[in-house]
Subunit: 592 residues, 2 copies
Amino acid sequence: MEPENLYKVRHSLSHLMAGAVLSFYPDTKIATGPAIDNGFYYDFEFSAPISDKDLGKIEQKMRELLKKWSTFEKKEITIAEAEKMFADNPYKLELISDLKKEGAVPTIYTSGPSSSEDRAGAFTDLCAGPHVSTTKEIPSAGFKLERIAGAYWRGDEKNKMLTRIYGLAFESKEALMAYELQQEEARKRDHRKIGKELKLFTISDLVGAGLPLLQPNGMIIREAIEDYLWELNKNKGCQRVWTPHITKKGLYETSGHAAKFGEELFRVKGGEEEFFMKPMNCPHHMQIFCDNQFSYRDMPVRYFEPATVYRYEKAGQLSGLARVRAITQDDGHLFCRVSQISEEVSTIVSIIKKFYTTMNMLNGYWVRLSVRGDDRSKYLGSDEVWEKAEKALEDAAKENELNYKRVEGEAAFYGPKLDFMFKDAIGREWQLATIQCDFNLPERFDLNFTNEKGEKERPVVIHRAISGSLERFMGVMIEHYAGNFPVWLSPTQVKIIPVRENHNDYAKKISDELKGLNIRVDLDDSDEGMGKKIRAGKVNKVPYMLVIGDKEIESGELSLEYRSNTAEPGKKEMINLENLKAKLQKEISERL
Amino acid sequence: MEPENLYKVRHSLSHLMAGAVLSFYPDTKIATGPAIDNGFYYDFEFSAPISDKDLGKIEQKMRELLKKWSTFEKKEITIAEAEKMFADNPYKLELISDLKKEGAVPTIYTSGPSSSEDRAGAFTDLCAGPHVSTTKEIPSAGFKLERIAGAYWRGDEKNKMLTRIYGLAFESKEALMAYELQQEEARKRDHRKIGKELKLFTISDLVGAGLPLLQPNGMIIREAIEDYLWELNKNKGCQRVWTPHITKKGLYETSGHAAKFGEELFRVKGGEEEFFMKPMNCPHHMQIFCDNQFSYRDMPVRYFEPATVYRYEKAGQLSGLARVRAITQDDGHLFCRVSQISEEVSTIVSIIKKFYTTMNMLNGYWVRLSVRGDDRSKYLGSDEVWEKAEKALEDAAKENELNYKRVEGEAAFYGPKLDFMFKDAIGREWQLATIQCDFNLPERFDLNFTNEKGEKERPVVIHRAISGSLERFMGVMIEHYAGNFPVWLSPTQVKIIPVRENHNDYAKKISDELKGLNIRVDLDDSDEGMGKKIRAGKVNKVPYMLVIGDKEIESGELSLEYRSNTAEPGKKEMINLENLKAKLQKEISERL
């Protein structure tokens, strides 16, 4: 099913649900009922509370209505007609009043038995649509009611709390079941839960929501990812820079970000001076560029900085590492000539492909190439430059055999871009990497270099992120691997378990040998029993476990157990120390 | 001369200068005249402007007065007497009014010819002292007047601008000359000047004063220092953590920093929520500790984080990297048992000694051991814990053969500490590393771990910094090395200069070979002449230069020139590529 059609199905189901609800509770006031990513919801003001137990009968009634109903008929009406029609519904009246202010024409959708039949069971809603043209398009086995929740009218906590009923809806029973299975799996691997179990990060009430602190285990993962990103970028000629986290207002007035970010900006005062927390790193990198007199021989100039920006989001929207107020971007800005865009983009694409291959996420990825729409007045920069840039991006996509879709009209006003969508281990899609051409900031900051003719030439800026927000990326990785990180990312790489106390010395010797190679070892020489030590290793999701007892000391070979985050889960083998070292070093250095 | 005596000499010279000034300009109003680090100053309100040209005669008069004057006599007077005595001097009247508010007794110092002689030439000042007992203590050749500057009365720009005359004063002519030589050398190696020349950092008007941005060259140095610090700390069991830059007010209310930092705090608002920029990392690290249930087997716990804190300083006090508003601390917090303090301190001392040996700063260092004074009520924590901690610090100082001085009464209220003073290449002293015991934060944050008996036990916190502020440390290093960084810190390590265009390919081959070993190479294959290329290499203070021409290509050996930042400045030799690689790799990896 095409996304547009699934959207119509979901939206139509919300009407169906409202119809079913009204058949049981006729004095219910209906508010709004849109389609959402996994189905639909409708907000109601019930005269008496309902509970999850009531969902069954409502769902059953929906299936009955689905057989009876046939069409969704659209009709334009006047404001006066609308006000009369919904006179006893304050929510609809508020919506109608908004339409009136906007000068918009209200539309209603009526659904029910086909027009030739009795219209008694019909349901009419104030609604902009769109809907399916016939209920036959709605797969009866593809939906179910999910849960009840409270929701303020229009999302504003000053308003009345309504009752929201959520429904899931997909194109088939199989798609619905797959989604439910995915959700169940997602709950098991929730990064907030695993983050606690593996001691990766801390949310502190005293520090504040959306401001996670990384525990040593989390920092090991963060550092491994950052180091890898820096290695990939450094190898392609990037230079590292550093910028502070606050700035005078003027910088973001010049860049235009002050207006763009508005209420999302953290405002800072020192004495009587005013500053912003930086919401983006770009303007700072422009300033670093500006303080040089570059010639064409120096181009491209490439800056890299994993830098933390701050954006104020409402407390209710914050969640673990997924949605935070302190966002560390793996930020990079390239300054190049128009003729160099193609090669630069190709290089970035190669970095992205390598990085996501390592992360085991390249399967099923796709790329959105966003280009200009027909209304050329919306975009900054000359036709010539745009055409070259769009072509450069598309050429790079082709050369690198990217699975891409060209989407007209989705470009930013400042330039075309490539956005990369990757699927995690349970099939969820994440927008992560991005490459964006920018003709705007070079103008605003009057960037230039001296060309072959001794003239000033304006460079193009390319923004690019490989992982995107490192916090969000870590959250995605925790869920992608369900905490079973590959050995190079694992906080503890090898757990060594001496069988009895008299094996501790030998175990210590092995531990020191591995630590000497920068391998992260946990030697568990506590008084606990072996079973308990092994269980603890499993709980901590350590990829390799080494048990050391009489047999191992006598034979000089070590008992190695492979856990699920290795290439051969469950394998057990005897291995000598030199081979173990070589094996681990290879897996770590090659990020296998 | 003891520091206290030199202080008295300097303070007495400011009176001498005021006496000399009044002899030329009797209607001058005198304000205040303290001793400072390198001499003294006095602030005057002149009735007509004076200039640097007038300093000579004032200085000459001072030497005359020095012969005539003999003593500095102190006398307590009443507020009323003081008001009468200084009735025509608004500055002194303001000071007297302050004394009155404080309930303090005014004192005056009268200096001039010995009491048996005519008192006509005497000079009397409202002054708390102390002064030399006789002018014979003042070395006549050890002082000179330095310069004139404007200064607001009491440092407040809302007040009247006065004229400040600065004088230099030391214990002997030799000491004065040595200081002047040092100052001249310091001007040559000013880190702001070298920072521009070598493109290390940028101060941007749009970003703001005290918020330097690191250029790629600066970031190479910063990263090399940070990596080294992390290596040293990691090898001693430190774990890296990460904390955000803003926090809710509550954290610093719990820690007590909110009150301590007051006006220095940057206040942040997101929506209607209030935050602070963090002025210290300690409270965040306490929160990371708190989110664990540690046992005695886990102790010590050691966190390391090079983290940026923000403190609001007045714009006028900011200077290059030396005094900034964004301060990146190489911060570390250790949590240990009282019995573990000694070993932990010893480990930190060994890190500090190793680090400053590498930095070539260990010569002439000394350490201040600050312990409690007699008034025990000023300090937090039991006598027993204090005695153990002071002994642990002193034992570590002895074991590590530190050149230390024990200073009673200089401890912080929360614990004793060791502060390390290092001398740079021109003999200036910098307080850099510090190790501080803290019995306060563990109380405030209710830190604990489970001991052998299953009881809660309170750990001690040890704050420690090796480099201190990385910005300031980089400033110190730029001046210490005068920009001639040792090869491991040099932004460019080798400059390769092909003699003519037909040598470019061979030069490129050599360049790629070295780059493959992560050596930072600048291949200058531009069209410039060889002389110009070599001069550019010298200006950029590149430690090694390789010239490649016919001779080199034929012989297969490279012409290597050693610059002043190498072990053998000026040396030239022919060296083959393998030996060059080995040589550079050794110098870089061993940080020679």
